[in-house]
């Protein structure tokens, strides 16, 4: 994208000079009227993702015969940028959103339904469609998605004579056996952010917890599992302040024998001397009646309503090409993410055999916004508050969940 660089520098300079004058006259400044120039906004600001997504977008644009002006902002500032553009009427023609945010944005009428624009919406895993659907219409689709699973240190487990746990009891035992002087048996992320909620969901959902009402015995049972492991010292108390990246660092440096994490960590985990890991589905309490439920992660792509029908049609064409099987497979292979269409499983696993666990989980992965839609963030906040209350010993798991309901 050579085009992007020259434009952006000039725009920045101009914006800086004009900023004081521009306050009164925002309007549509900077939006090209050429229907063959489309603006794209995403949050893949770091390589390798930035380059991989950029190349896939470029290939799709070439098929359609349009030019893209792409802007990548950091993940934290994406929504703020979208709100700012929404209020000044300068939304891009193609927009990436984190999947739990899609319904909230769609509820504001800022997005166009993809079906009527001709973007194929069939063949996707149910979770992908749930995440992208608001009031019966599909507003966002994901070429590739991800989830979380249990990573284990092969050598540590072999040395201790432990097999990868499949039940909660086995997980407790394995963690206890694997805990030694300088190493914890188990590690996960339980900080005061949505990352915590995301990592707790598999236990919570698998055991029958519901985001509609947190205060249930099933939810308390799931929370008790994590609370017990922190209390008996088989997981560090520091999980309360660790991000998922910190958890990965603990695992890599041999300070945790097992961890919960996702495939986006794999690029940083390959090529490390002496590190040999396996990945299995997260354990369930009762294997006779339960199947591990995975939360669906990943970014969806949408078409904002810009009022320019010609551009919206072109954007739909670009998105169709971008979401095509070949494009999804190539992005999935390069980014360690799973194609959103289950039919691509075999072909994908041929290219990325190490992604088998994640690929199997995606088929039935559950979207966080499937139940509550735009109300999900409030529930997510209550959930991480409950986890923190229980893990820090402020309340028993049951009390913590009851108390967290008040924070909603």
């Amino acid at each position: 994208m050579q085009h992007k660089r020259t434009v952006s520098r000039r725009t920045v300079t101009a914006a800086g000079l004009l900023a004081p004058l521009g306050l009164a006259a925002c309007g549509n400044t900077g939006v090209s009227s050429d229907p063959n120039v489309l603006r794209v906004l995403d949050s893949y600001s770091n390589d390798p993702d930035n380059g991989i997504i950029g190349a896939a977008l470029e290939a799709a644009a070439q098929q359609v015969g349009v030019t893209l002006e792409r802007v990548s902002v950091s993940g934290g500032s994406l929504i703020q940028r979208v709100l700012q553009q929404g209020s000044s009427g300068t939304l891009p023609d193609i927009l990436m959103l984190d999947n739990p945010d899609l319904q909230q944005i769609a509820s504001t009428t800022a997005l166009k339904p993809l079906g009527p624009l001709g973007v194929p919406t069939d063949g996707y895993a149910q979770g992908v469609l749930d995440a992208g659907t608001y009031e019966g219409e599909v507003y966002g689709l994901a070429p590739t998605v991800n989830t979380i699973a249990l990573f284990y240190d092969v050598k540590a487990l072999d040395a201790a004579g432990v097999t990868p746990p499949t039940t909660w009891d086995e997980l407790r035992e394995a963690a206890a056996t694997l805990t030694t002087g300088g190493r914890y048996g188990f590690s996960f992320c339980a900080n005061a952010t949505y990352e915590n909620t995301w990592q707790f969901l598999p236990f919570f959902w698998t055991n029958g917890g519901s985001e509609r009402n947190l205060d249930t015995p099933e939810a308390a049972q799931a929370l008790e599992l994590l609370t017990d492991m922190v209390a008996d010292g088989t997981a560090s108390r520091s999980v309360l302040n660790w991000t998922q990246a910190d958890v990965k660092d603990q695992f890599i440096s041999g300070k945790a024998a097992m961890m919960i994490n996702g495939p986006w960590q794999l690029p940083e985990m390959t090529g490390i001397d002496g590190l040999e890991y396996g990945i299995v589905t997260l354990p369930v309490r009762d294997p006779a009646t339960q199947v591990s439920v995975a939360p669906l992660g990943g970014e969806v792509w949408a078409i904002p309503s810009t009022g320019n029908a010609e551009k919206e049609a072109k954007a739909a064409e670009v998105l169709t090409a971008f979401l095509s099987d070949d494009s999804s497979l190539s992005m999935g292979e390069q980014r360690y993410t799973v194609p959103g269409k289950p039919a691509l499983r075999e072909e994908y696993l041929q290219r990325r055999p190490d992604m088998e666990t994640f690929t199997d989980l995606i088929v039935d992965a559950r979207a966080r916004t499937a139940e509550l839609g735009p109300e999900w963030p409030a529930a997510a906040k209550s959930i991480y508050t409950a986890v923190q209350l229980a893990l820090s010993g402020q309340a028993t798991p049951a009390e913590a969940l009851a108390e967290a309901e008040e924070y909603r």
Binding site: S107, L240, N241, T385, Y407
Partner: protein, 312 residues
């Protein structure tokens, strides 16, 4: 205006009134840019924030432009919410703890550096270090230093044998606030030291010499000479310190994300989370308005104290 001059002539009445008029123009021209600047960059945001506090201002508002008037609903919701009383208490503990620590240590260092000794200049500039490091960086470093298992502080304490298990500085609900306050004190010391040191430089040495003749040295010199002479500087330092501390956000987010279990939640972090995580800008504005009122109270106290000092 000081430009008005007396004209003892009889035909001066008309002349004077036209002068007054042109004077008024000059006044307007001089004040104009300042007023425009204040209105644009201070007045508008404050007014906007106050109005926002009475509106249902959420994500949809940005796209539809509609922000229904909801009266005091945002305020009642926030104040009766489970988090508010905790955040308010934490805000006071955080502010008082930080100010007391920063001021006491800053004062001690300022008095210490009043003496000249080899390397004193170098050491004094070293004190500025916390001020020069971006807050995001220093909070990331402190988060690492204070980690329960691998943190340098706990390793040191265990190595020396003071404790045999890592202290959960940032992960215990009872310690987290204290740790965050301690880091904020570290960050605030340079500010206090620099201002107070400047104030100390302004106290004439003769006073100390005269005091020494009367037997006032050491602590008594501080009590009867330094402290009274430094009072105006002290009040500026304290009020600015309070206002700066009330709005601290990045350090808390960087260290604990306002956790664990809201143990380090203050009004500032609550306002931030309401606005930029829950996207309920109305409630976020309500909390920040409450914060502005609290800051204002301190500003008024400062102005009154200052006026009294001038009167004296």
């Amino acid at each position: 205006m000081t430009t008005t001059t007396e004209r003892p002539t009889t035909a001066a009445t008309e002349n004077r009134s036209s002068m007054k008029r042109s004077n008024r123009w000059v006044t307007v021209l001089f004040l104009g840019p300042a007023i425009l600047y204040l209105a644009l960059f201070f007045g508008y945001p404050v007014v906007k924030n106050v109005i926002m506090g009475f509106q249902q201002y959420d994500i949809a508002t940005f796209f539809t432009g509609e922000a229904p008037w909801v009266g005091f609903a945002n305020y009642t919701e926030v104040i009766t919410g489970a988090l508010f009383s905790k955040a308010l208490l934490n805000t006071f503990l955080f502010t008082i703890g930080s100010i007391v620590g920063q001021f006491a240590l800053g004062m001690a260092l300022a008095v210490f550096f009043r003496r000249r000794f080899p390397l004193s200049g170098f050491l004094r500039s070293l004190i500025l270090l916390p001020w020069l490091i971006p807050l995001i960086v220093s909070s990331a470093v402190w988060r690492w230093l204070l980690d329960t298992d691998g943190g340098a502080l706990n390793r040191f304490l265990m190595g020396v044998g003071v404790v045999d298990q890592g202290i959960p500085w940032l992960t215990s609900t009872s310690l987290a606030l204290i740790s965050v306050i301690a880091v904020n004190i570290w960050i605030g010391i340079p500010f206090n030291t620099v201002i107070l040191h400047g104030g100390l430089q302004g106290i004439p040495d003769e006073l100390y010499e005269a005091g020494a003749l009367d037997g006032a040295t050491g602590w008594r010199a501080f009590r009867h000479i330094t402290w009274p002479m430094l009072r105006p500087v002290v009040s500026v330092t304290l009020v600015l310190g309070v206002v700066y501390t009330l709005k601290v956000l990045d350090i808390i987010l960087g260290l604990t994300q306002a956790g664990p279990a809201n143990a380090t939640q203050t009004l500032t972090t609550q306002s931030y989370q309401l606005s930029f995580q829950s996207f309920d800008f109305g409630q976020g504005a309500a909390v920040s308005n409450i914060l502005i009122v609290i800051s204002l109270v301190f500003a008024v106290i400062y102005l009154r104290a200052n006026r009294r000092a001038v009167d004296e």
